[in-house]
Symmetry: C2
Subunit: 263 residues, 2 copies
C-alpha cells in the first residue's frame, strides 16, 4: 500500500460533491477533479484544498494512486473505457447498481467498488460519518485501500457482493427515491388546495418513527389497508384532474389491499 494515498475524482455530481471534501478533510490529498462539464469540476475544486481541474480522462502522468469514478451509473462504462491510468493505479466506482466487472473496460486488475448508501443533494450538508459504505473488490490490496478510505470517513463500513449490492440499491430506491416522490405528490395535492405542506410534518415524522420502531409491515394504516372502497373511490374522484397521480393512487392502494385484505 502506498505511504500516502492521493486521489483523483472523476465526476462532480451530488455524490462527488460530498465525497471529495470528506476524503480531503480526512487527510487524503485530492489532486484532480475531472467532469464532462469543466465548470462543475471547477466548482468542486473550490471545496478542496489543492485539487486541480483535469481536462481529459488521460491520467497517464497523474501522481494519484486512487481513481474514484463518481459519475451516474450509465456513464461508468464509458469512463472505464476511455480512462488512461498510470501504472499501479487503483480504480473504484461508487455505484449501487453496477457490478464490479464494469470496470474491466479499464483493463487493470486493481478494481473495486465503494457504495455510500445515502441520498446526496448539493445544497444539503451531510455527516459522512453516519453514511454506511459498502465495499467490494476481488483484489486484496485494492480492498485494503478502499477499506482505508472508507473507514477514514465513515463509522459504518461493510463488505458486500455485487448481487447483494444491487438488492440494497433497489431497496434504497423504494425507501428513498419513491418515499420522496410520495412526499412530492402529497405536497402537490395540498398546494393545489391552498394548504401548507407543513401541516403534514408531524404525520410524516411519526410515520417514519413508527415504521422504523415497529416495522413498516406492522405500521400500515389508512383506507386501502382497511379495504375502505368508498373512501378510495372518493379520493380517485377528487384526483381525476391529474391522470398520472390518480393512476399511482390506484395502483399502490390496490397493492395494499391485496396484501392486507387477504390476510
Amino acid at each position: 500500500m502506498p505511504d500516502q494515498l492521493s486521489v483523483s475524482i472523476i465526476g462532480s455530481g451530488n455524490l462527488a460533491w460530498h465525497l471529495a471534501p470528506a476524503l480531503d478533510n480526512a487527510g487524503f490529498a485530492i489532486k484532480e477533479v475531472y467532469s464532462r462539464n469543466p465548470k462543475h469540476a471547477e466548482a468542486l475544486t473550490e471545496r478542496l484544498y489543492q485539487a486541480e481541474v483535469k481536462a481529459t480522462l488521460d491520467f497517464s502522468t497523474s501522481t494519484s494512486t486512487v481513481f474514484i469514478i463518481a459519475v451516474s451509473d450509465d456513464a461508468i462504462e464509458e469512463v472505464a473505457t476511455e480512462i488512461i491510468l498510470p501504472d499501479e493505479a487503483f480504480l473504484i466506482h461508487t455505484s449501487g447498481s453496477q457490478p464490479l466487472s464494469i470496470l474491466q473496460f479499464a483493463a487493470i486488475d486493481s478494481i473495486g467498488s465503494f457504495y455510500p448508501l445515502q441520498t446526496f443533494s448539493k445544497d444539503k450538508r451531510i455527516d459522512f460519518k453516519t453514511v454506511p459504505i459498502f465495499l467490494e473488490s476481488t483484489h486484496p490490496e485494492t480492498e485494503k485501500i478502499i477499506m482505508t478510505l472508507a473507514r477514514a470517513i465513515s463509522h459504518h463500513v461493510r463488505k458486500i457482493g455485487s448481487e447483494e449490492r444491487k438488492a440494497l440499491h433497489i431497496g434504497a430506491v423504494f425507501a428513498s427515491n419513491f418515499v420522496n416522490h410520495m412526499l412530492t405528490l402529497s405536497k402537490e395535492v395540498l398546494q393545489k388546495n391552498s394548504l401548507s405542506f407543513d401541516l403534514l410534518k408531524p404525520l410524516i415524522s411519526e410515520t417514519i418513527a413508527k415504521g422504523l420502531t415497529i416495522g413498516p409491515e406492522n405500521a400500515q394504516t389508512g383506507p386501502a389497508m382497511r379495504g375502505d372502497m368508498e373512501v378510495l373511490d372518493r379520493h380517485l374522484e377528487f384526483l381525476q384532474d391529474d391522470e398520472a397521480i390518480a393512476e399511482i393512487y390506484k395502483l399502490i392502494s390496490q397493492h395494499i389491499i391485496d396484501r392486507y385484505q387477504q390476510e
Copy 2:
C-alpha cells in the same frame, strides 16, 4: 355549553384507542364506549377511568353530552343512521374523508367533525399535544364544544372545510400510508436477499430530513430522476419474480422520469 363535558366514544380502533385516553386525561369524563366488537370496547374501557361498555347504539338515556364517532370512514353512515341520542347531544365524527353532511342521518343539528391528522397504531404511544386537529361545524355552539375538546388535548387546532379536509386526507395517504408501503416493499427486497432493513435507516432518516428541509421536489435523486434507463431495466429484471412490486417500480419510476426529465 354544559358545565362539564362528558363524552361517549363510538369505536375502538386505532384512533379511539389513543383519543379516548387523551380526552380522559384532559379531564373530560369518558362515560361509555361502544364497539361492534364488545371485547374491543372492553379493552378500551380498561384504559379509562370510569367508562363502561355500551352494548347498543341506543344512547337515549345516556348522560353524556358529546358523542364521538371514531369508526372507519365507511361505517360512519350506518352509525349515524342507527344511533339514538339524548336531547341536546353533540355528535362529532373524526374522519378525514367524510363530509360533515354524513351526520345528517342522525337527524340532529349539533354536528361537527374533529380530524386528528396523524397515523395511529395501538402499540405505538403518541403524544396527542403534537397532533394537528382540524375542526368543522356549521353550528356555532358545537364548534365551541369541539374547540374546547381539541384545545385541551392538542397544541395545534385549526378550522377547515370539508373539501380542504378531503385534500388534506389524500395528502396524508400519500405522505403516510404510501410512504409506509414503500418502506414495506423496501424491507421485503432486502429481506429476500438476506440483508437487514436496519442498513437503510440512515438513508430513510436523511431522506425525510432533506425532504422536510429543502422540499421533496428539490430533494429527488436516483436513477429515474437521472433518466438512467439501463439501471431501471436492470432493477426490473431483478424484480421480475414479483410482478406486483415490479409494476409499482415501473409506474413510479415512469412518473419521476416524466416529471424531472421534461424539465
